[in-house]
Structure formats: structure tokens, C-alpha cells
Amino acid sequence: MSSAASPVLIEVEKVYKRFPLPEGKGEFTVLSQIDLQVRAGEVLALLGRSGSGKSTLLRIMAGLIPPSEGRVLSNGRPLRGPNPDVAMVFQSFALLPWLTVQENVELGLQAQGIPRQIRRQRALKAIDLVGLDGFENAYPKELSGGMKQRVGFARAFVLEPKVLFMDEPFSALDVLTAENLRGEIDELWNTQAFPSQSILIVTHNIEEAVFLADRVVILGSNPGRIRGEVKIDLPRPHERTDPRFKSLVDYIYEIMTNPEIPVTGEVAVPSRVGSRAPSPYALPLPHARVGGISGLLELIVEWPQGRVEIAELAERLQLAVDDLLPILDAAVLLGFAEVTGRVVQLTEIGQDFANTTILRSKDLFRQQLLARVPVFKSILQTLEEKNSRSMRADFFLDLWDEHFPHEEAERQFATAVDWGRYAELFEYDASEERLYLPDPSESSAASEPVGLDSRSG
């Protein structure tokens, strides 16, 4: 439906977004050199993992937050303030609970100063379009999640925006409701009755992106940047049973699990990039709990030879990319699994870890941590240098703070504590906010310097 000849509705030019780090320690780049166009008649999906800045990009395009550098053109004019050509559907609906369905839908029209009678008629039409007639006078709290989001759609439709923005509109709904509403929105778009010229949807759900979009733009993390785009060259509606649909989903899974692959539209061989580690604290730990990692490994080991396609795994687990990928990343980082193309394969140690007793698996985990994640060696060294064999948490947080915004630094710390505690490398006293080396008299296992072997470095 879209072509290069269609008029450009929104254009993003060389946009950067940076947030200052606490205490003037420089800046954290959320978005780097974004160039993007939204054309008339297309459904465009922004797909990325958490931390890729996709929601930030959407908000910059909506004029809700200003870019640090670069500019956004809407309908040819540079944006200053909220984008008048855009209406948005929010993840958590963003309905005013004290207004009825009708009043919520009329909100944007009222702000434009449209007279009451006309406002009423247009709102009723929009409510009708989303299938909520009869609920005009209900309050949001009387509605189910799916119905609330329908109100969210009606409120956006009634403004007849040039571009409809959707910020993960189905992710707060249960699986069946989401499926149903997604189908209806798609149908509305396909029948040409849609009240806007284009749709821009932010999502972390690969299937959703392939199902709805004509073009999927893949965002990478740290910093958020555009890795490339995938054209969904299927006839609308995009049938899930179409073999091409499945191969597109698989392809995108592969791209998302292998950050080094260039996004070309064709499968490329992953190349190992030599790791450069200026500080052990700069390497981000994927946010996965130990329980999640071992759960995943125990699941994969059930497949023949411990090999499984990632898309299949995600389907089996009913997990969105955002939830699955950090766990997978952690397993790879620890050397329990390897990802080649679209397949994940347990390593020998990974198989061992999945099958053994708790005590032995703790030993394995500790060994892998010390060998492969430099930050743990650094923490241990710090603790050992202290006479008290302990250190304030602030000290480590400060080190992370230099590389991440404070909130992320705290999450890094929490993940490190979770892993370190499990491995019995150190203990953490939350009330004193201190890290301790374990008392050697209490636990013999922890005092042995397991894993401080030659493989590190």
C-alpha cells in the first residue's frame, strides 16, 4: 500500500536524545542519530527490546519531549510542542476515571473548542466505530481492560489525526482480548474505513509487528539506534498461516537475538566482535533472575540435543521478547548456551547446570561468573582488599552510575546482588546496605576459590 512516492507525513532528522547522568557525570545517550519517515498509507512498526528507546522516540515524534539534537518535521513544519497531526493510544489506556466514556472521547474535541452538539455527534460515531455503543454513559472502572482500550481508540479516532500513534496498545491486555482487538483494528485498516492516514505502532512483540505493519523498523540498544528495516511483503491481511509470515517472524527473531547482525533482509553469518572492556562496570548485565536462567535451561535441555528454535521456545513459554531475551542473553553471557542464527543450543556446561544438584549448580554458576563476567571479579577484589571484608553498596553504585542513568545503575546492582548471592560469592545486608564476603567458618564451599582459574581474561 505504501510506496516511496506517497507523501511524507512525519520526518525525523538526525535526532539524538541524551539524559544527564546524576552528579554531572556526563550524559547517557538514549537515542543516537535517528532518521525515520512516516509515509501516508502505511503501517509502520517500531520494534525493539526494552532500553532501545522506542517509546522515547515515539514521544519525541508526538512532541511530548524535545530531542537533544536534530528535528522532527510534521506535515513539513518543524515541531514545537505537541504534534497536532497525531493522536495516541496509550499502553495503560490513560482514561480519566471521573469522566464517562462519552466525555473521555470528547476530551480532544472540547480542547479544540468544537460546539457541544457537533462534539456529541462525532463522539457517538467514534464510539460506534469501536463497537461500544450502549456504553456512552459508563465510567471506565465499569469496563474490562479490552473495552477500556476501545475507548482509548475512540478518543484517538474522533480527532481524525493524520497519523495514529500506538504505544504498545495491546500489552496490558490478556492474550485472547489482545488478539481479538488487534484483529479488529487490522480489519478496520484493511477496509479503508480507518480514520487516520497512517499508523505508527511501538511494540516488543514480533508477531504483532509482522501481523500489523507494512514496514518494521528494528531498533538496537545501548544507545538506541535504527539497525534497519524489514518490509512485510505480504498481501493484507497478513495471514499467520502463510509460510512467508513464519519465515519473516523467524528472521526478525534472529536479528533481535544477535545484536551484531546487520539488518539487510537476508540472513547473514554472525561475526564475533572482539570485546573491549574499558571498565568491568560498563558491560551491562542482562536483567534476569537466577531462577529464570535455570528454569530456561531446564526447559531447553528437554529438547533433543538441547537445541531449539527461539521462536518455538517463545511460543511454548508464551513470553514476549522483552521477557525472554534478557534470560537468553544471561545464559549466553554465562556460557550456558549459544545462539547461532535462529537456534539456541546448550553448551556442555549448560547441560551440566540444568541436570545437576543445587550445590553443584551453585559451583558451576560461580565458576562461570568469575570466568566470564569481569564485574564480579572486580567486586570480590574490592571486598578482599578491605580489612572488614565488606563495603558500602554506594561505592559500587557509584561505579555503575558512571556508565548508566541512576535507575539503570540500581537495576544493574540488584541483578549483580542476585547472581552473587546465589553463587555465594558475597552477601548483601539490605538494611545496612553493605556487601560482605561470606564468613569462611560458616560455609566451606564459598571460601574455596573455585573458578579463579586461567580461563578468565
Partner: protein, 575 residues
């Protein structure tokens, strides 16, 4: 085909009766306000012409109405102040840095100590009329209500859900529309709750501010408080009993006719989107929603409301300027910091100058010592109230039936002005020869202890049933059960109650360390007595010093003690 009558039909049925009741009620209310309000314009030319209090109990309804009117006028001003001050503090980063610390201090200043200053000021403003005294009394009530409400509003504005803010921004609501559609509604539940609690506390100040002696001069406003005062001077116990009864009836009436409907109405402003547990109910609110008249008036006014909305929206259109210049921001920041240091230094120099030229440093030490004595009383009170009321509160809280029954009673007790009970207690001290040095603790506790009790109840109720069942399951009993389950569970609620009780006790010390029965006056040694005596003789430097010292104590204890406990509660014992 319908088998059941629709709600609309049910609603229409008794509407005629409801409309009649509403018309009647409105007329009665208007008539009352006109009648009572006229009294405020009485002639007043001290010392010759002062209002006279008639002790005949038949006058009590009139006096009660006068006091109530004062309360509502103060409430109206408090609401207006709250909306303006809170809005500015939340919207401007610069204003916030000054307004919020200021609010924190104002909140800790003992209101009663100010009466002498405001009374003389307001009398000068309205010569020859009672309006001056009236305004001073209203001002005293206002200062007791307003800070809580302002804080609540400011907090709500700062914690608006991000997506709602984005929605109204993207849909280009004007400043006015944002205010009435998002900001005020989102703050409504907290605002009404705080207003209700402060209003309860306000009765205490009505009673204290209607009859006071300033500059060797008795000032009396017709009202319930001055009736009590007159009865005390006449040593008339039955009359006191009538006054007490009237007060109780007034509190119940205001609750039924005003707060309950308001709370029931405000329930729709809850931000949690799920249908909550039990929605608050009120018969008057049901009556108002059943009747047709309010809706008719609403429809009739709709066009003019629309017009006003458009006009105000036009005036408050959002303008989008260039993004702020960080360099200029930093410069302004530096300037502001320098200015605040200059202000602090200026105030410090003024204090030293003030002390050396008027009272001398010896007096400062004296008031500090008196402050320690009062602090001891407040601490003893808190310890005793905790030891006695926490177990009772927990027992009530763990029993849902009992809690439902007793919670309104406890809230009523907290709202009941303790100073109405002081005469009885004073008489008791005189008869039993109990020293007022200890007795004043009991007087202070008459008002303050209830906050500990009802927060203990609320705290116990907030402990999840799962945890309580677990405690039974693992066999926790006696002290262990308290140590592991109850104390951590009710800790945050107790801290909230403790802060409120301690603030209330400091304020009450001004009226409870010095009490009278007829011609007998009992005086305890303490900062409260010091301030009350300085006020009576109009000794400005000592009034200022006394209030300053008390504020210092309250702010200091809040910072050093309560705030730390509060942080502990937030971080460690948050359920």
C-alpha cells in the same frame, strides 16, 4: 422484553418527594445563614460595648450556628488558598524551592500563639464592628486547617500518572481545562479526606479563639467556645453539660449533612481503575442524585458553563516557546541559592539583634528550659498513649465487625474539641489535689491520643490476612507475635499517628498548661504557660520568643526524630 424495572424507572419514582425535600432544605439553609450571618455585624466598641454571652441553654443553637459558620468560612478560604498555593508550588520549580520549606515551617508553628497578634491586627482593620474579632477567629481556624490540605494538593499534583499528563498534553487541553479535568479531580480524594480531618481539628481552635484575653483585655465572640468559657467563670456544671451535648450534635450533623455526601461523591475521583471494595455511602448524596432539580439546574447552566470554559481556555492557551537555555537555568539556580543563603543570614542577624535589644540571652535559655519540660510532657503522653491504645487498636483492627462499629466512634472522639472537656478535668484536679504539672499531660492527651488509636486500628487492618494466618501456622504467640508481625505491620501507621499526635499536643500545651475554674487558675511550668501568659499581658518580645522557641522544638523534633522514623517505615516496613 424486560422483567425488571430499569434503574431509571426506580429513580424517577420517588423523585417528586426528593425534589420537595431539596427545595425545603435549601430554603432552611439560606434562612439560617442569613439569620446567623447578620450577627457578625453587631456593634463592637471596646471596652464599653462588647457582646454579651447569655448562659440560657436555649441560646445554644444560635451560638452553635455562629461557630459552625466560622468553620465553613475558614474552610472556604482554606480551599481557595490550597488551590492557588499548591498549584504555584507544583508548577514552578523556583516557587517550589521557597514555598514548600515555608509550608513545612508554617505547619509546625503553634497556631494558638499567634492569636494575640492577629486579634489586634484584625480589630484595627474593622473598627467599631465585631468583624475584626470574627476575622481573627476565622483566621485562627484557617491556619489550623490549611497546611495539611495544601500539602495534599501539592503532592497529588506532583504524582499525576505520567500517561494521563501525556494524554492531556497531546490532546492540547488549555491550562484551565487541564486544571478542572485532570489536576483537581486527581487530587480530589486526598484533598477531601485531609479537609475532613483538618475540619475536625478546627473545632479545637474555634473553642480557643472565641474567648481570649489579649493585652489585659477579654475579647468575646458569640459562639459555643465563649459559652463554655462563660460557664466556667460562673462555675456552672449543668450548663457545661448542655454545651458538650450541643457540640456533639453539631459534629454529627456536619458529618451527616456535609462530609458524608462529599466523600460519597468524591469516590468517583479514585485513580485506581478497578471497582474498589466498599464504596462510601450517604443518604443525602443518594437523595441529591435521585432528585431531578440538581440535574435540571445542571442542564440549564450547561450553555453558560460551556461559554465560561471556552473563555477561560482561550485565556490559558498553552504556548510553546523555545526549549529552556541550560546556561541561564544554571545562572538562575546559583542566584536563588545565594539569595536563600542571604535570607537565612539576614534572619539570623535579626534574631541576634532582637534578642540582645529586648529580652536578653538569659530569657532564651529560660524558654529553652521550659521547652524541655513541655517536650517531656509530650513524650510521656506519647509513650503512655502508645502503651495503652496500640494493643486496643490492634485488637479492634483484627476484628472486622468491631472495627466497622468503632471506627466512626474513634473519629468522632478525635474531632471532638478536647478543650470542651478541660473544665471537667480541671475541677477533678482541684478536688483530688492532683498537680497540674502532671495533670496537664492528661489534658493534652484528651485530644492527641485518638490519633494513635485510630492509626493503630488502620495499621492492624492493613496487615494482610495471609500474614496473620502464617503467624498462627508457625505458632507465633505473645511477645514474639508482636515482635515479628504486629509491630512491623503497624509501624508506618503508628508513625503517622505519632506525628499528628505530637503536633497536636504541642499546640494544645498553650491551653492545657494553664487552666481555670471560676476564680481558681492552675499553672504548670512549661513553654505553653509562658506563651499564654505573655499573650495575656501583650508582651510582644516574649510572645515572639515563646512562639519561636516552640516552632524550633517542633521543627527540630520532626527533623531529628519523626522524619527518620518515617524513612525507616517507608523503606523497611512498607507492606
Amino acid at each position: 422484553m424486560r422483567t425488571f424495572p430499569s434503574p431509571e424507572v426506580l429513580r424517577r419514582l420517588p423523585a417528586g418527594a426528593a425534589d420537595g425535600a431539596i427545595i425545603l432544605g435549601t430554603l432552611v439553609l439560606l434562612g439560617l445563614v442569613a439569620q446567623v450571618g447578620a450577627g457578625t455585624f453587631e456593634r463592637f466598641q471596646p471596652p464599653a460595648v462588647v457582646p454579651h454571652i447569655d448562659l440560657d441553654p436555649r441560646n445554644l443553637p444560635y451560638y452553635a450556628a455562629r461557630s459552625t459558620l466560622r468553620m465553613f468560612i475558614a474552610l472556604a478560604f482554606s480551599t481557595l488558598f490550597t488551590l492557588i498555593y499548591g498549584y504555584i508550588a507544583a508548577k514552578s520549580r523556583w516557587a517550589e524551592r521557597i514555598l514548600i520549606p515555608l509550608l513545612d515551617i508554617l505547619q509546625s508553628v503553634p497556631v494558638l500563639g499567634f492569636l494575640s497578634i492577629t486579634v489586634t491586627g484584625f480589630i484595627a482593620l474593622f473598627p467599631g464592628s465585631l468583624l475584626g474579632l470574627e476575622a481573627a477567629s476565622i483566621f485562627a481556624i484557617f491556619t489550623s486547617q490549611v497546611w495539611n490540605m495544601t500539602f495534599s494538593f501539592y503532592q497529588s499534583l506532583r504524582t499525576l500518572p505520567q500517561e494521563l499528563v501525556e494524554a492531556v498534553t497531546l490532546y492540547r487541553l488549555s491550562g484551565w481545562q487541564r486544571f478542572v479535568q485532570l489536576e483537581v479531580p486527581a487530587a480530589m480524594v486526598g484533598l477531601i479526606w485531609n479537609a475532613m480531618m483538618s475540619f475536625g481539628g478546627g473545632w479545637f481552635f474555634v473553642a480557643a479563639s472565641e474567648a481570649i484575653s489579649v493585652l489585659n483585655q477579654e475579647y468575646t465572640l458569640p459562639g459555643l467556645g465563649s459559652y463554655v468559657e462563660a460557664a466556667v467563670q460562673a462555675e456552672d456544671l449543668p450548663k457545661l453539660g448542655w454545651a458538650l451535648l450541643t457540640m456533639a450534635v453539631v459534629i454529627l450533623l456536619v458529618d451527616q449533612l456535609f462530609w458524608r455526601p462529599l466523600v460519597a461523591w468524591s469516590d468517583k475521583f479514585r485513580l485506581e481503575q478497578s471497582a474498589g471494595a466498599a464504596a462510601p455511602e450517604s443518604w443525602l448524596y443518594d437523595l441529591l442524585t435521585t432528585a431531578r432539580i440538581p440535574r435540571l439546574i445542571g442542564n440549564w447552566l450547561a450553555p453558560s458553563r460551556e461559554l465560561a470554559d471556552r473563555l477561560l481556555s482561550h485565556l490559558t492557551r498553552l504556548r510553546w516557546g523555545d526549549p529552556p537555555n541550560p546556561e541561564a537555568e544554571r545562572r538562575r539556580e546559583r542566584l536563588l541559592t545565594q539569595l536563600s543563603w542571604a535570607a537565612i543570614a539576614g534572619i539570623g542577624i535579626w534574631i541576634v539583634y532582637f534578642v540582645t535589644t529586648t529580652v536578653g540571652f538569659g530569657e532564651v535559655l529560660l524558654t529553652f528550659g521550659l521547652g524541655i519540660l513541655t517536650l517531656l510532657r509530650v513524650s510521656v503522653l506519647l509513650v503512655f498513649a502508645t502503651v495503652i491504645w496500640t494493643p486496643i487498636g490492634v485488637a479492634i483492627g483484627f476484628n472486622p465487625g468491631l472495627a466497622k462499629l468503632l471506627q466512626p466512634v474513634v473519629q468522632f472522639l478525635a474531632a471532638f474539641p478536647a478543650n470542651f472537656l478541660f473544665p471537667f478535668a480541671t475541677l477533678f484536679f482541684i478536688r483530688t489535689q492532683i498537680s497540674i504539672e502532671w495533670g496537664s499531660i492528661l489534658l493534652m492527651s484528651l485530644g492527641a491520643q485518638w490519633y494513635i488509636l485510630f492509626n493503630s486500628i488502620a495499621g492492624a487492618q492493613s496487615i494482610p490476612t495471609d500474614l496473620r494466618e502464617m503467624a498462627v501456622d508457625v505458632g507465633l504467640r505473645g511477645w514474639q507475635r508482636w515482635q515479628k508481625l504486629i509491630i512491623p505491620g503497624i509501624f508506618s501507621a503508628w508513625v503517622t499517628g505519632g506525628i499528628t499526635a505530637s503536633g497536636g499536643a504541642w499546640n494544645a500545651s498553650i491551653v492545657s498548661e494553664i487552666v481555670a475554674w471560676g476564680s481558681t487558675t492552675l499553672k504548670a511550668t512549661g513553654l505553653g504557660t509562658y506563651i499564654a501568659e505573655a499573650t495575656a499581658v501583650g508582651d510582644w518580645p516574649r510572645i515572639t520568643l515563646g512562639i519561636g522557641m516552640m516552632s524550633l522544638f517542633v521543627v527540630g523534633i520532626n527533623r531529628l526524630f519523626w522524619r527518620r522514623l518515617y524513612q525507616l517505615a517507608e523503606e523497611k516496613y512498607h507492606l
